[in-house]
């Protein structure tokens, strides 16, 4: 048996006999199993609920009877965001973001129905899921396992014996890395494989996205293994190594992502909801409304366009034209304000990326959420698509009134066939290329961390050469 194989086998046996580690590993696996189960149930129940609601609401919409199209535009429709199979792996921002948008006339509404509003417990670090177990608990478990990898040999005095036996410091370090790596692969691998099976069974899966998700976590856990073994290489005792690793874990896993969010909030604060809507109301009020301040000018413009001198002589519905003009004016205001808000979210994400100087976790979180389809860019895509759909739908309803409501004003009632012609909203998730374009910087950061951790481990292993000498 090679020295690597012998050391891996010895460490494996020791770890199996260490009840503390076994209990902790079982606890992590139990939590992972719970996370998989609850996430699968949650996503399945959400999707079943969404499908049922769509069906009920479609029937409600189509059976609203003869009505003025603008009444229907006020009643309007809802866009419901689907949860992809990736949400089983990483719910990302799903709990903290709205899942439904009311696509009504006159207003671009925010996404509402945030699951967090109906939850009591907020965890100290992220949302309970497989991703949370892998991002938060698994590094702590690796720290516990790796803390004694070399330091304990040093404490016992076996390190000098091994180095004196001629096996070489490099081979010893490789063996220790393999030893911790194998345990990590077994524990994390089992969690990931079961998670992926659950995700794939929850809905249509993109194998490439799943593979990239797996690679991202493999890289992250490799960084943790390399760093943890390097600390153990440098520590005087396993207890000291454990405390240093626990401190590093606390800093890199618990503190840095929160600190990044805190810095982003301080540097690029989002306006209060009250201020945002007050600004929109003021901007809309400043525009010449075709129903009040701008009515005369608009009427003159329309009459000139249709070459008539009285509104009553228009071949189309003036009310319908007013509504469409009102939408056009409102849309420009919404474009400006929501555009600024979304740009602010982008800026906050850029600011949070500075946290990667201190921890690889923010980069992994961005990658994980993006590949799972639960990150902010995809939430914004949902809201933008819902808004595009709203505008098309309202224009479709206004157009019917314009074309068929001449002379009837708001007493015009559209035939109920019109409702069937209005399509339901269907979210088109971004393609893999678009997803990767939003997180390529995070992928590079993770690779840089992997390279850095490898260099750190190699440099730490050189200390053993001196120790052996």
């Amino acid at each position: 048996m090679s020295i690597t194989g012998a050391i891996v086998a010895k460490d494996w046996t020791e770890l199996r006999r260490d009840r503390r580690v076994v209990i902790m590993a079982l606890m992590v696996l139990a939590l992972a199993a719970t996370a998989i189960l609850t996430s699968t149930v949650r996503v399945a129940s959400y999707e079943a609920d969404r499908a049922a609601t769509l069906e009920v609401d479609r029937s409600t919409w189509e059976n609203q009877g003869a009505r003025n199209p603008h009444a229907a535009a006020h009643f309007a429709k809802w866009a419901f965001k689907p949860l992809t199979m990736g949400a089983v792996l990483d719910p990302g921002i799903a709990s903290y973001s709205g899942s439904a948008v009311w696509m009504e006339a006159h207003n671009q509404n925010p996404a509402v129905a945030r699951p967090i509003d109906d939850q009591t417990i907020i965890l100290p670090s992220g949302e309970f899921s497989i991703a949370w177990v892998l991002q938060v608990l698994m590094p702590l478990l690796i720290a516990v396992i790796a803390s004694g990898a070399v330091a304990r040999e040093r404490e016992r005095g076996t390190l000098k014996l091994i180095l004196a036996s001629g096996s070489g410091a490099g081979a010893f370090v490789r063996a220790k890395l393999a030893s911790v790596g194998v345990v990590t692969a077994v524990l994390a691998g089992s969690v990931i494989v079961v998670g992926m099976v659950a995700a794939a069974s929850a809905g249509p899966a993109n194998p490439l996205m799943l593979a990239l998700w797996l690679i991202a976590y493999a890289a992250f856990l490799a960084i943790i293994v390399l760093g943890a073994v390097a600390v153990s290489l440098r520590a005087r005792s396993s207890g000291q190594a454990l405390l240093v690793l626990a401190g590093l874990w606390l800093f890199a896993v618990v503190l840095v992502p929160r600190a990044g969010a805190a810095v982003a909030e301080i540097a690029a604060p989002v306006p209060s909801s009250e201020q945002f809507w007050a600004d929109i109301a003021a901007a809309k009020a400043a525009q010449p409304s075709p129903f009040s301040t701008g009515r005369e000018a608009f009427a003159a413009e329309v009459m000139a366009q249709y070459d008539v001198t009285r509104l009553e002589d228009l071949p189309v519905s003036f009310g319908g034209l007013q509504l469409e003009e009102d939408e056009r004016i409102g849309n420009a205001v919404y474009d400006e304000h929501f555009g600024a808000l979304f740009a602010l979210y982008d800026r906050q994400r850029s600011l949070m990326r500075w946290g990667n100087l201190f921890s690889p976790l923010p980069a992994l979180q961005n990658l994980s959420m993006a590949l799972a389809g639960t990150d902010m860019p995809q939430q914004i895509a949902f809201q933008r698509q819902a808004e595009t759909h709203r505008r098309l739908m309202i224009t479709q309803l206004n157009s019917d009134m314009i074309e068929h409501g001449a002379g009837a004003g708001f007493d015009y009632q559209a035939h109920e066939d019109l409702w069937a012609e209005v399509e339901d909203f269907a979210f088109a998730p971004p393609s893999l290329g678009e997803v990767l374009a939003s997180v390529w910087a995070d992928a590079l950061i993770l690779l840089a961390w992997l390279a850095g951790a490898t260099v750190f481990a190699l440099r730490s292993s050189r200390r053993l050469l001196a120790e052996g000498a």
């Binding site: 609401d57 109906d118 417990i121 965890l123 969010a261 909030e265 009250e274 007050a278 902010m376």
Partner: protein, 453 residues
């Protein structure tokens, strides 16, 4: 013992590892203070804006009612022109323990068209990406970071002496190691607790004046002291057993992970699974189905455009009001189920929290700060109850076909909700009990140690 404690204090400040831990604490505290100041400023400004909007709405509406030139066909629309802005008072320590402050609404605008289920639809614009990661506030530092840093400082409390054999030397020279253990614990406690207290002081001095802030801050500090004392006592208890320094460190880190991460995660799953909220989607669909079932024509949305005659508008208003009541009645059972499930979640979460000192402390700190889930739920419930009274008031005019007069303003329901300020005495008592029991047991064991141990 005092001399020993001073020596320990100096030794700690010369230790590079201790300085590194203190640097992490200092960084977190600076961030917590900055974050707290930004949050309280934003919350104060938003409340001020809401209060200004409330005053403007009140003035505009009073002017409308006072306008004798308003034709009856416009005056009859007054109930549907009423606006009332509800604002929850600023929590006394929102900058210290943010709790749910960044998540839950603290103001809303009422109108006759508002419904209980749509009252807070435009409540938050905060970036979900930031919310999911959470912020850094003083409460987070005290509950999550401080215990682990304290565990790090307490690494050399006693077990390392046992490993190295110096424990026997101490026993031979000084007899009982109790004084030594106390002299080691006190400076370490002060090194963690002192900066937290100092940061709280800075926030108090630079923050706005809020009723009850001083008392709440004092109680907040006592809670943190008890919580950290509990961790210190646990460390002392573990070090008093016959374990190696590594095992002691492992046990403490494992206990921290269990109480701070694992149990809250498990409880979150249990609470959600035990009391799953009804579907928000189904709630939306049910309200819409009811609206279609009760609405026959367009007037529901624009009664002012339905007719220019008094009778026509009144008829339209009555229809709108009847439809709104019917929709509300249809949705009421589902709304009640939401409230019931949330209460159920809170009840189970509260019961389970007794199993984790971290959750006990977190809950107590948020309760003192006025940012706990129960307070947020209280504002929602009070707002919904007020909405009902507000709509009944406006609806009465519609039903009677009466035009609102300036004198009617005095009868308009006013929102004067104040959160109940129940102090978490049971939580404090339990933390004190745990700290006292563990410390007593640890010191007794240390006192009984002999050279043979």
């Amino acid at each position: 013992m005092l001399r020993l404690a001073v020596m320990e204090w100096r030794a700690q400040l010369r230790d590079r590892a201790v300085l590194a831990l203190l640097a992490v604490l200092a960084g977190a505290l600076v961030l917590a203070a900055a974050n707290g100041r930004v949050l309280i400023a934003a919350q104060s400004e938003a409340r001020a804006a809401a209060i200004t909007a409330k005053a403007e709405a009140d003035t505009q509406f009073a002017e409308r009612l006072a306008n004798a030139d308003l034709p009856p066909e416009d005056a009859i629309l007054s109930p549907y022109r009423m606006r009332q802005v509800l604002v929850a008072p600023l929590p006394p320590l929102v900058d210290v323990s943010a709790g749910r402050a960044a998540l839950d609404p603290f103001s809303t605008t009422l109108s006759m068209r508002a419904r209980a289920d749509t009252l807070f639809q435009r409540s938050s614009l905060d970036n979900p990406e930031l919310l999911v990661r959470g912020g850094v506030d003083l409460g987070f530092v005290a509950v999550v970071l401080a215990p682990l840093l304290l565990i790090g400082l307490l690494y050399g409390l006693f077990a390392a002496d046992r490993d190295s054999g110096t424990a026997r030397l101490i026993m031979a020279q000084a007899g009982s190691p109790v004084a030594l253990v106390l002299a080691r614990m006190i400076p370490r406690f002060v090194l963690i607790f002192g900066p937290i207290a100092l940061t709280l002081g800075v926030l108090l001095m630079t923050g706005p004046e809020v009723p009850g802030r001083g008392t709440a801050a004092a109680l907040w500090l006592v809670t943190v002291a008890l919580y950290l004392a509990m961790w210190m006592a646990l460390a002392a208890w573990i070090h008093s057993r016959d374990v190696s320094a590594e095992s002691a460190a492992f046990a403490l880190v494992a206990a921290w992970a269990l109480f701070t991460l694992v149990l809250p995660a498990a409880f979150a799953a249990i609470v959600q699974a035990g009391n799953p909220p009804p579907s928000r989607f189904a709630q939306i669909a049910a309200a819409r189905a009811a609206e279609v079932a009760f609405t026959e024509s367009y007037e529901n949305d624009h009664p002012d455009l339905a007719s220019s005659e008094f009778e026509g508008r009144l008829a339209s208003l009555r229809k709108t009001w009847a439809v709104a009541q019917a929709i509300e009645a249809t949705g009421a059972p589902l709304n009640a189920r939401f409230a019931e499930r949330l209460e159920g979640q809170q009840r189970v979460a509260k019961a389970l929290a007794w199993l984790s000192p971290a959750l006990i402390a977190k809950g107590a700190l948020e309760q003192i700060a006025g940012t706990d889930a129960a307070t947020a739920q209280g504002f929602r419930a009070a707002s919904e109850a007020h909405l009902s009274a507000f709509r009944s008031f406006g609806g009465g005019f519609v039903e009677r076909g009466a035009i609102m007069q300036p004198s009617d303003l005095a009868q308009m329901p006013r929102f004067d909700w104040e959160p109940s300020r129940n102090m978490p005495w049971p939580s404090l008592a339990l933390l004190a009990l745990l700290a006292g029991a563990l410390m007593t047991s640890a010191l007794r064991r240390f006192g009984k140690l002999t050279l043979e141990d």
